[in-house]
Symmetry: C2
Subunit: 719 residues, 2 copies
Amino acid sequence: MALDYSLLAVGGALVALVYAVVLIFNVRSQNAGTPKMQEIAGAVREGANAFLSREYRVIAPVAVIVAAAIYIFIDIPLGTNGAITVGFVLGAALSAFAGYVGMAITVRTSSRTAEAAKSGLGDALTVSFRGGSVMGMAVVGFGLLGLSLFYIAYQGTITANPATMAGLGFGASLIAMFMRVSGGIYTKAADVGADLVGKVEANIPEDDPRNPAVIADNVGDNVGDCAGMGADVYESFVVTAIAAVILGGLVQLAVKGTSVPSQLVSVVAANQLILYPLTLGVAGIIGSILGGFYIRRSIKSKPMAALNVSLMIAAVITVVIDYFIGQSLFGSNPISYWLFGSAIVGVVVVIVIERVADYFTSYLFPPVRHIAEASQTGAATNFLAGFSSGLQSTAPSAVVLVVALLVSYYLGYYGSGHDVLMGVYSTAIATMSMLSLTGVIMSIDSFGPITDNANGIAEMAGLEGNVRTVTDELDAIGNTTKATTKAFAVMSAALAAVSIFEAFQSEVNRQIGLHNLFAKYGLPPGGTLSFTLSDPHVIIGLFIGSLLPFYFSSFLIQAVGRAAMKMVNEVRRQFREIPGIMEGTGKPDYAKCVDISTAAAIKELAAPATLAVLTPLVVGFVLGPLSLGGVLIGSVVSGVYLAFTMTNGGAAWDNAKKYIETGAYGGKGTPTHAAAVMGDTVGDPFKDTAGPAINSLIKVLNTISIVFVSAVVLYALFV
Amino acid sequence: MALDYSLLAVGGALVALVYAVVLIFNVRSQNAGTPKMQEIAGAVREGANAFLSREYRVIAPVAVIVAAAIYIFIDIPLGTNGAITVGFVLGAALSAFAGYVGMAITVRTSSRTAEAAKSGLGDALTVSFRGGSVMGMAVVGFGLLGLSLFYIAYQGTITANPATMAGLGFGASLIAMFMRVSGGIYTKAADVGADLVGKVEANIPEDDPRNPAVIADNVGDNVGDCAGMGADVYESFVVTAIAAVILGGLVQLAVKGTSVPSQLVSVVAANQLILYPLTLGVAGIIGSILGGFYIRRSIKSKPMAALNVSLMIAAVITVVIDYFIGQSLFGSNPISYWLFGSAIVGVVVVIVIERVADYFTSYLFPPVRHIAEASQTGAATNFLAGFSSGLQSTAPSAVVLVVALLVSYYLGYYGSGHDVLMGVYSTAIATMSMLSLTGVIMSIDSFGPITDNANGIAEMAGLEGNVRTVTDELDAIGNTTKATTKAFAVMSAALAAVSIFEAFQSEVNRQIGLHNLFAKYGLPPGGTLSFTLSDPHVIIGLFIGSLLPFYFSSFLIQAVGRAAMKMVNEVRRQFREIPGIMEGTGKPDYAKCVDISTAAAIKELAAPATLAVLTPLVVGFVLGPLSLGGVLIGSVVSGVYLAFTMTNGGAAWDNAKKYIETGAYGGKGTPTHAAAVMGDTVGDPFKDTAGPAINSLIKVLNTISIVFVSAVVLYALFV
């Protein structure tokens, strides 16, 4: 019976991947536009590929070293048959591959979207949505495939020691952090650099082909918003699933040790609690595919509403399937109803945070309009309005988070007859249910950068006005959907953190018991280490953890600043040295700008990545597992709000500018618009570099800590 | 013997207050300047008084209601003879009084400083430093007086139940939050409003008497930076002392219950651990007075260096006195050396954070110069440079914090033969030792707003150039010293939080035991509730707590925006309707602008103050003490870094502007300067409204929770 459900998961993953292939053929069959458009799209594609291959060449040796370290220091001592190392390599490889596949198709969709925009909004929306769906399906397909194959291969090891799964998550999150950080720096260095010289100094419009940084800017949209976001959401999916699997495994071990109400005995016999999160993923894939069918060429207006309907359809179908899966897995055991309740909580969270992000970032609502209004008195008031709006958006997000945690916890707690661990498992199920909608969320998201690129191609190829109107409208929605996806990823980090912490704590205590380290940790024999707030080690860990998102962000924002300055100097040099460039007779050296962004993005990756990887190891080995546990929770607790502030604030600034460009407060060319452009420039690294990278940071901290916990417990200096 | 040390504390407090009176006479004997200068200073004084009396009229009924609630719901049920209510009233009244006295003298010092500036830098520095010292001495004098009188009056109650002290802290921190929030909104509404119309639209210089908001701006410096900062540091001093006293009391109770090594028995017999923090306050007062003597009229240059020497002298003297006090209190018990070690840690922390704040906010160092450089490409890059520099400053501050926590904890832990509670007490001693330097820190701080005002008076009274050069130089240093004091206050909140949490947890468990609530809390009889990170209630509390600084800040920044807009509209109206105003023949209606700031500041106080007071109560009564404990730690853990980001970033923006005004990058009148002015405007509510208010927010949460913990434990819904 158990094998059936793991094969079901493999089947679900294959459905997603096959559907992705179908979409790829569909997209490639569209008209790719005029030769001029294809030439531009080709240059963008070439730049994106150049970046990815250089990035992967840098990452590969790092990944090999990390894999070796895991094998020698963790797998061998633990006797886990190399499972953690294999998981790490598999997670990393599939992450890199998902990013590659997704980006390969988005760079091919943008010129087709620009071409489709000639026929109207519905056509452009459909083409770009299908391109985005390739990314969405690749992410969930590879994610679920990796999870289920790893489960099938190491079923025995996982059942005996659930934390073995963490290697897969560490691989995924390490690559995601690399992609997020360097992709984020790339895209914003090019964007800010292009804007500072182009719009501000040379007074030429955005995406003007005379600007030498214009191709780099478009490449950036692909490597940052497509490949970076794809890797990010891929790891969110994988890490969340792993958190649920580990928790399920821990509950099963506890039930077998009879410390948990016997009513659960019937649902752990065949690893049901471990398989349940994977099957939720299958439900989400089917829901996402069916929901996506709603996006059709016949849509003539209100594209945001259409995307929302698509999301709602996907959500309802997923929930219905969740119900039947629970019934099938758990039989007549009433736990199926309680856990189904948590699955509903997860889906509702997606819909609510989508509304919250929409409210704070769309120009149909007061917050963005207020930023536009504040732009009338200059850049300073624009900046304050945007930043305080970002800060404000943390409150409703926090309410969603807290209510979801509370409700899902109590569903599992009461449903299991007051078992705390089942409460936490239930929270993990809500999170997994949320992430099961990744397919549709990612499709809704990825159409954003595709239309942004289409916009650029339309401008550079000199397509006439109504194409730009269509792509502009879709682009503004793209800002909101991108903010939604970031909120989705960050929310998943916050919710998953509780389960991951539980797994971490249980692993710490298991290792203390295995190695008989009770005396070292000041415990009576058989005692357990409690991560209590009254222990200064825990508090110190919380302070270190909560620092990380702030400090990490400072690196990223400064990296964008430095890289943008290099770009500015290069663009100025080209304007000065290439004759006829401003008249359109001289051809700018686009490749040089692409190269600058690529080199800078990879160089600037080193410091923040080292910070993220070394901090948990140093804290763990020097201050001990109590402080390391504090770091895990501390980083989430401050990180979520800093991330919401930056991603929502950044999108709001961008759309305040777009709102003014629709004619509000005098429209383009006014000082009000100039102030809004400044705000947009500030928001760029907030929303596309620092803000979204916090999710990867949190998850790297989480997964690396679980992978290395056995060594930490043995070798910590102070404890 | 015990009475001796408490009388010593009273004596120390009286020394501070007598010295304050001496300084008042000294300052008032200085030449107050020309009739024109006195007229302007009089208008500022009048506006400041009007604000304070209106503010107090709003606060008084709130304080009466809170006092009644404490008496009915806490004091009567606990049978504490009204101690907590009396403490609350005393703490609140002394806070209000300290703010009043300090401000009364600073408004009188500014015109005298402007007059003294005619004779040179040393004269201006000395006069303004002495004015600031009145504030410093009033803060520590009233703080220590309240603490020691309360101790003498309720000695028996405190010894039996140390948490009784919390009422005093709650009174102090509630008033401080009101003063910080409304003072902060007042000062920045006036400042930003005056700048937006004056500098940006009408193109008249800062402090130009033609600007109708100019008096309101100067009033703001006094109510925000003097009265607000005074109340803030007063409560930091009181709450830190209380944390140490409560911890000392808890250790004493534990020793008497023989759960702690017997080597401590000899040092708890006469309440030594309770009295030690108070005597450290005495040492700091003497050190501060003597250190202040270094500031003399003969100083001709490098005023910052002179202030640093003054601080160093105060620190060394304080440490020496600390040593002898410890010897006298603890006799031959070796614990005196370990605790003396912690006292040294506290003093070293002051000196190091002073260096960190100086590095990140003075234009002599790279961070501020980098912001000035980034201003060349406009306001957007200026914003990003300043914000990321603020983010970056969190790291060294965190290192100081973590090292101080760790070292002071282990000193007490090893010194007592491995007692965790003594470790935390030792941390509290380090914090108290840090705060014992409040006198000199506050003197160094308060001279800033005094010179800022002197600057304004010099400009408005048309004093010639070299006066402005002197006051400008002192003003720039004032930005740095203000940032230092804020870092000092925030650091104290972070360090004190550990002790306060320990007190909170111990009180929770005492109440559970008293009322036999073990079953309600799922504990075995005699068991204790553990605030472990693996309990979702704690995690939920951490998420709610860590949200508060973000959300609270959004209110404050938006309040400044709204109030500044009202000011802008009023100034525009006056420019439009009052004939001859720009030619200097028509007189602006200053009073109207003062009134707008006052009304707005008091109105905008309601929402954030309600949030701060109601959140811990709602969380406590609905989600229970575990979540409330999470809120306490959560708010500190994110709050410190958000506060550092805003206060250091804000001061850096201000000084980047001042650096450009010294002639860098073309100086005044260039687009680079205009961009830097924008950055300064953004930094204003960061550094003077939202950033510093986070300290009061954290401390209100801490103290209100301890005061209401008995009721929370009894009546919590979920637990």
